[in-house]
Amino acid sequence: MAPGNTPAPAPAPAPAPQPTDPAAAAAAIKKLHPRAYLARFLAAGVRPDARQPSHFRTLRITPSAVSTAHGSALAHLGQTTVLCAIKAEVAVPALDKPDRGFLVVNLDLPPLCSGKHRPGPPAAEAQALAHQFAGYVESAPIVDLAKLCIAERSACWVLYADLLCLNDDGNVLDAAVAALVAALRSVRLPRAEYDDDDGAVRASTDATNRPITLPILRTPVACSFAVVDNHLLADPTADEAALASASVTVLVDADRSADSDPLLAVTKRGGTPLSKPQLAQCIALARNRARAVSSAGLLA
């Protein structure tokens, strides 16, 4: 190369785009295009929290979380948290069921648990969820209400089970059922005696008497699924549930979860129609989940 014949300097490269933080970019896409964001994951066969479509979140139970209650439990399903506390009071049995006590359940979704819920009277959606939950408890009793009778026609226990959602990251129903079952298992009632003379109920004074535990008839496990663009997602998070076109909840007894055992409830809501094989798939996944929960001894 002849001296002086130096090559022209290369044009200055266009300023490189500012290297963006990939996590921040992903968060922006998630906010702006939630459906596309989820669809990209589902196309690859995973979910944003690294679960497989058919995988449930880890269930953790802290029994007797409230020391002032007669029974309580705190259930975590991933980030979703439900606290259940049971207080017992003495009441007069209903006329048509003189030998039964009562179990009154109430599920509350306060504004604390999610931005979806506003203060004031519960929204229609929260009321519908609470009714669905109470319906499950009524149609498949967990405790034998006859054991709550103190004296026929005169006195019985009424168990007020208050469930409070502390964090709503989807699928509150499954967490609520788990919290209720664990709380009922932890109930300790004082031995009570009915005095025919003055009609009062007194705690037994016999020091050798230990508190009563409740015999559990069945251990229901609720397993919910969301249908998003023809994908069946087990245990949806709040983000996934917001995009779902249909939801399925299957209630299975963890103590009797063989394929020939009865189911406790099946509810499918919302738009997309579901064929019999798809429903059967939900039921099979629910039975598997119930067996896993049961073998982990979470609700024992």
């Binding site: 519908a128 009714h131 498949a140 997309t272």
Partner: protein, 213 residues
């Protein structure tokens, strides 16, 4: 076990229906499974409250009234159940930024109430000329402790039953739009209920088609 009415297990009660029974509503329908009667009125598409406005589709408002008793969470549950299903069946994208209000009034409840409500809604929506993806019909069943499956149960039969099932099918027969089953039941019985319900929904749809003409 035989049914008190003398019906066989797989027989529905006589169906009756009427359309356009409310003159102030944009569409209305009454549907009766013998004594169980539900009246449904449809208003819309009408102006929507700004807060409820959706830019790409119509907003649906469902109101359910019982004939007796105070409104409880049960009605809220029925409302949300009806709303979620109807939202999928109505072509809401054809009427963006409007409201379609659907009101149900129970006239008499002798079992299978939710099914009667769905069927009344189908009649009323057609009467109102609201475009639907397809017509739909709902069927209730119950399973008794001895394993008998009763189609279209009365209130007494629902009371005695171990489990109760409600299904909604559309005329395209793609699958069940909604299923609500409670109480312990075997999966094989559930599958049978599904098949019975799919067949009976066809019968109701044929009835509606005849009633429309």
């Amino acid at each position: 076990m035989t049914r008190t009415s003398g019906r066989s297990n797989g027989t529905m009660r006589p169906l009756r229906s009427a359309k356009g029974v409310l003159n102030r509503a944009d569409g209305s329908g009454r549907f009766a499974h013998d004594k169980t009667t539900v009246l449904c009125g449809v208003y819309g598409p009408v102006e929507v409250k700004l807060r409820d406005e959706q830019l790409d589709k119509a907003t649906l408002e469902v109101i359910f009234k019982q004939n007796i008793g105070l409104t409880s969470t049960r009605e809220k549950f029925l409302e949300s159940f009806l709303k979620e299903t109807l939202e999928a069946l109505i072509m809401t994208n054809l009427h963006p930024r409007t409201l379609i209000q659907i009101t149900f009034q129970t006239l008499q409840n002798d079992g299978s109430l939710l099914s009667a409500a769905f069927n009344a809604a189908c009649m009323a929506l057609m009467n109102a000329g609201i475009p639907l993806h397809s017509t739909f019909a709902s069927v209730s069943l119950c399973i008794l402790p001895n394993g008998d499956i009763f189609l279209d149960p009365t209130a007494d039969e629902e009371e005695q039953a171990e489990s109760r099932h409600v299904f909604v099918f559309d005329s395209r027969r793609e699958g069940a739009y909604c299923v609500h089953s409670d109480g312990p039941f075997l999966q094989e019985k559930f599958d049978k209920c599904y098949d019975y319900a799919a067949l009976s929904a066809k019968v109701i749809l044929d009835y509606m088609k005849a009633a429309r003409e």
